[in-house]
Amino acid sequence: MSALVPVKCHVNGRVVETMVDARMTLADFLRHELGLTGTHVGCEHGVCGICNILVDGQTTRSCLMLAVQAEGHEIRTVESLSDGDKLHPIQEAFMEEHGLQCGFCTAGFMMAICDLLENNTNPSEDEIKDVLGGQVCRCTGYNTILRAVKNAAAKMGSAGA
């Protein structure tokens, strides 16, 4: 049994201020308390990367963080990527390249790729693989995900130029 603890953080640009169970994981908090169910969990022990979110812009396993540790931090989830019916270039690229099949792993990949491409719109193949290598996808065999990253990089590069 554990106690309720106050937490205040930003989630997808909004202030969240609430009491949470001290032992609740950040993944469970986002999914079950805030209803942001676009973040999925695949292993809950830090290996698969499916639960990736951005904490202060950095790829983070939301299953390995407690909700209380979000105190004072800026969190972004897959729900922050699109704007109404306008998809983010990473989402468009995944769609164009068939970078997803079941789609269960995709949010985790997209958030990590977002972290990569926001800092570097011209990553090398190795830099891309370094990021993708931190996560598993059981459906696609990664070839199309790799293409999606390159496609997204081109889109984001030209948008920024």
């Binding site: 695949g42 699109s82 099949q101 949010a107 065999g141």
Partner: protein, 803 residues
């Protein structure tokens, strides 16, 4: 109404199909990419409770007592379930072979680590997990058996006491003059092989929400369920209910690959809901539960096999002895994986006689289940290693040795010794294309150079069949019954011309809703984005199996096109009456009905639908006014198995040849895949992009199988691979670029000539990689016969060779 379903793209009512046959974007993606698709753990119902399950820590133990008092007293706990309830309320599960099923929870004896012994429903998952720690179980440990050969000994502990033996099945099948071809053979190549347990591991584990209605003894079960109608039948049998009292609502799910499992968890949550007076109970399996006690494990096989080769180098006979360690019970249906090789026993070759000596054995490991490919992947691994050895013995190139043993394209339809019929193929062409793609001659030349430098570089060429459009009759030898697997769809056109297709299965990744949209778009002249595909629950859906057995692409195409044809026929009658002509004069093309010989006399599909639904005054009296039709498709010409298990079972036979180059690191035993090339032929490609997606993913799973994935157990049947730290899935670092080329030989027997292609490359990939590794090891004079070829295993072999 009998309908004729187009066998080629040209027969569609479109001057040029705009969508079918093209790699169009998927209609399911926008929702998935924005996180909006409702997976089962995203669903919240009023009053919902959460389940946690206490699992046995022993592989074999008698439960002497269970004390649940403290758990029940914990605030938030609503119900606690034990074996006593389970005995009162449920029956043991059905199984293959029959009689080897168990209850969803141990009732007196636990038979594998991870078997449920008690469960809790509470107001949160956190509280439920607290509560199971407050359940105290006294176990009296019993001797466990983890090895199938020991399990066959008469002094072995018995996994299921009342069976009197651990041998679930022991039979020899003889197809053709096996003894004769072996005694006439110029060479007999014989070897033992070991394929370790591995399995599906979809990224989403199993999850469900069960509601038991105390009023009419019915069940509503939502879940990440691959085959909703089979799941409903399973629950009905567990609870002794008529199947129409079980409504299964499948949710889109994060992959399945045959190994979603979930039957025990579903039965447990149903009974917890019953105990909690009908409140919905959710159970989301966690990864550790999935790995140790879910639908995760398949194919634990010990082989001894031989081929008989005549003086011309033609393989005449195949003799396979298989001891398959099924685990503790037969209710996860691992046995059907041992039966499926009958559908393609002799692979792509003209082998005329074969023997299958099959032993299914129970041990105290997790009951094994299905996995993508359902059993042939290990079988083809064995066959292809023997083919390589025979080629080497004769000094022939492995690709040419295979070529001369291929079934020729003029021999189709071709019946193999184990009874199935292959529909069509052009195996020589597939081989040519992959040799071209890989620059095979150059690859071999490079290998020679690498060997001179002392590097262990190897090239593997392997070829296999992917049986497509599964049929229950393929599994008759392990007790499955029935012939035919119906798949239905209902197509309806509304008053504004919008097309809606209702199907009986959920999304799980193969893009089937996109395929459905492509089909109706070309049929009625609309665009895929305008088509709505709706999933029905099992109480509403037409007969449906859903995805599985490389079947759904073909069968849903048959169902959808059949329904479209029926609507077309109705519309033609309406148009004929409005245009005052004969129905035979009316033609549908590109979304418009025209009248032959009357230029300008035209009605669009929406106009006809609008008339049917909103202008009854214009309709002839005898016409069916509903622009709606259901069609249930099943493969024609399937036969009842004979006493040797022979039947026409899987309708299609896709074919592939893979060429792989690997390098084995002498110092570490690590395998690097340097090139991966394949050619495959799965008939007409209805959406080439999604077909390629299936191929890529299946290659990746095949790489995992060949190099990484293994469920290890110790001698007390304790699982040693209990997290993703121990059970290794391939990452982007292990999966190279997959170079692909397609050959298209349409099936003469299927809708649009498509063949089953969903299981795909895993039939060939492990075989090809193992061939390449053994080719690399040749200079050392050692060969590996064990899958996965982990660095530890290869390193040991290399050490032995060098010492």
């Amino acid at each position: 109404m009998a309908v004729r379903i187009p066998n080629t793209l040209n027969e569609l009512p479109a001057s040029q199909p705009r969508f079918v046959g093209r790699g169009i974007r998927r209609v399911e993606d926008a929702s998935l990419l924005t996180g909006r698709t409702p997976f089962i753990d995203d669903v919240v119902l009023p009053q919902m409770l959460h389940c946690a399950i206490l699992k046995s820590p022993f592989a074999h133990a008698r439960i002497s007592s269970i004390d649940t008092k403290e758990a029940e007293a914990l605030p938030g706990v609503v119900a606690v379930l034990t074996g006593e309830d389970v005995l009162r309320w449920s029956y043991p599960a059905q199984s293959a072979p029959e009689g080897w099923g168990s209850h969803c929870m141990a009732t007196d004896v636990t038979r594998f680590v991870g078997e449920p012994v008690a469960a809790v429903a509470a107001t949160s998952r956190y509280v439920a997990e607290d509560a199971i720690e407050l359940i105290f179980v006294d176990y009296e440990p019993l001797e466990a058996v983890a090895d199938p050969f020991e399990a066959m000994n008469s002094d072995s502990p018995l996994v299921m006491e009342d069976q009197g033996s651990n041998v679930m099945m022991d039979r020899v099948f003889n197809w053709g003059e096996v003894d004769q071809v072996f005694s006439d053979a110029e060479h007999v190549v014989r070897e033992k092989f070991r394929w370790h347990r591995m399995g599906a591991n979809p990224t989403e584990t199993f999850g469900c929400i069960a509601e038991w209605s105390p009023l009419d003894l019915s069940i509503t079960l939502r879940g990440s369920i691959q085959s909703p109608s089979m799941f409903a039948l399973g629950r009905a049998s567990t609870f002794g209910l008529p199947p129409n009292k079980v409504n299964v609502i499948s949710h889109p799910h994060g992959g399945s690959f045959g190994g979603k499992g979930g039957s025990r968890g579903s039965d447990i949550t149903c009974m917890l809901s019953r105990k909690a007076d009908g409140r919905p109970v959710k159970w989301i399996e966690d990864r550790i539960e999935y790995l140790t006690s879910g639908g995760s494990q398949a194919w634990d096989r010990h082989y001894e096999a031989a081929i008989a080769v005549d003086a011309d180098g033609i393989v005449q006979g195949l003799d396979v002895q298989l001891v398959d360690d099924i685990g503790a019970t037969g209710d996860m249906y691992g046995a059907i994986c041992a039966a499926k090789p009958l559908a393609a026993f002799t692979g792509p070759y003209t082998i005329q006689a074969a023997r299958y000596d099959l032993k299914l054995v129970a041990t105290n490991k997790l009951p094994s289940g299905p996995y993508r490919g359902m059993g042939p992947p290990p079988h083809f691994f064995v066959l292809e290693q023997l083919m390589d050895r025979a080629a080497r013995l004769r000094g022939e190139d492995p690709s040419e040795f295979r070529r001369k043993n291929f079934i020729r394209s003029d021999q189709f339809p071709y019946t193999i010794p184990s009874g199935n019929e292959y529909d069509s193929g052009n195996y020589g062409e597939v081989l040519d294309r992959v040799l071209e793609l890989s620059d095979y001659t150059e690859m071999r030349a490079n290998q020679v150079k690498a060997r001179e430098e002392g590097r262990l570089v190897g090239v593997g060429v392997a070829s296999a069949i992917e049986p497509g459009v599964f049929d229950w009759n393929a599994y008759a030898i392990v007790g499955m019954q029935g012939t035919g697997v119906p798949e239905g769809a209902t197509v309806g056109i509304d008053v504004m011309g919008g097309v809606t297709v209702r199907v009986g299965f959920a999304l799980e990744g193969q893009g089937q809703y996109t395929l459905v949209s492509q089909l109706v778009s070309d049929f009625f002249g609309v665009v895929p984005e305008a088509v709505q595909v709706v999933q029905l629950d099992t109480q509403s859906a037409p007969p449906s199996f859903g995805p599985g057995g490389s079947r759904l692409g073909v069968s849903i195409t048959g169902a959808v096109l059949g329904a479209c044809e029926k609507i077309k026929e109705k519309m033609i009658r309406v148009v004929a009456s409005l245009m005052q002509c004969e129905p035979e004069q009316v033609r549908l093309l590109d979304g418009k009905f025209g009248v032959e010989g009357v230029p300008g006399a035209e009605m669009t599909v929406p106009e006809v639908a609008g008339t049917m639904l909103a202008r009854s005054d214009l309709l002839p009296p005898d016409v069916d006014p509903a622009p709606v039709a259901t069609h249930v498709w099943t493969a024609a010409g399937r036969t009842e198995p004979d006493e040797e298990g022979r039947a026409k079972s899987y309708l299609t036979a896709a074919h592939a040849v893979h060429v792989v180059q690997v390098e084995v690191d002498r110092a570490t035993g690590m395998v690097e895949i340097q090139r991966y090339c394949l050619a495959d032929d799965c008939g007409t490609r209805l959406n080439p992009a999604t077909v390629e997606g299936q191929t890529d993913g299946s290659v990746a799973q095949g790489i995992g199988a060949a190099l990484l994935e293994e469920y290890a157990y110790d001698e007390d049947a304790q699982p040693l691979t209990t997290s993703f730290m121990d059970y290794l899935l391939p990452t982007v670092f292990e999966v190279p670029e997959i170079e692909k080329v397609a050959v298209v030989t349409p099936s003469p027997f299927t809708p649009l000539g498509a063949k089953g292609c969903g299981e795909g490359a895993i039939h060939t990939t492990p075989a090809a990689i193992m061939c390449a590794i053994n080719d690399a090891l040749l200079p050392l004079g050692v060969q590996t016969t064990e899958v996965p070829a982990s660095p530890r295993r290869l390193w040991k072999l290399i050490q032995e060779a060098q010492s």
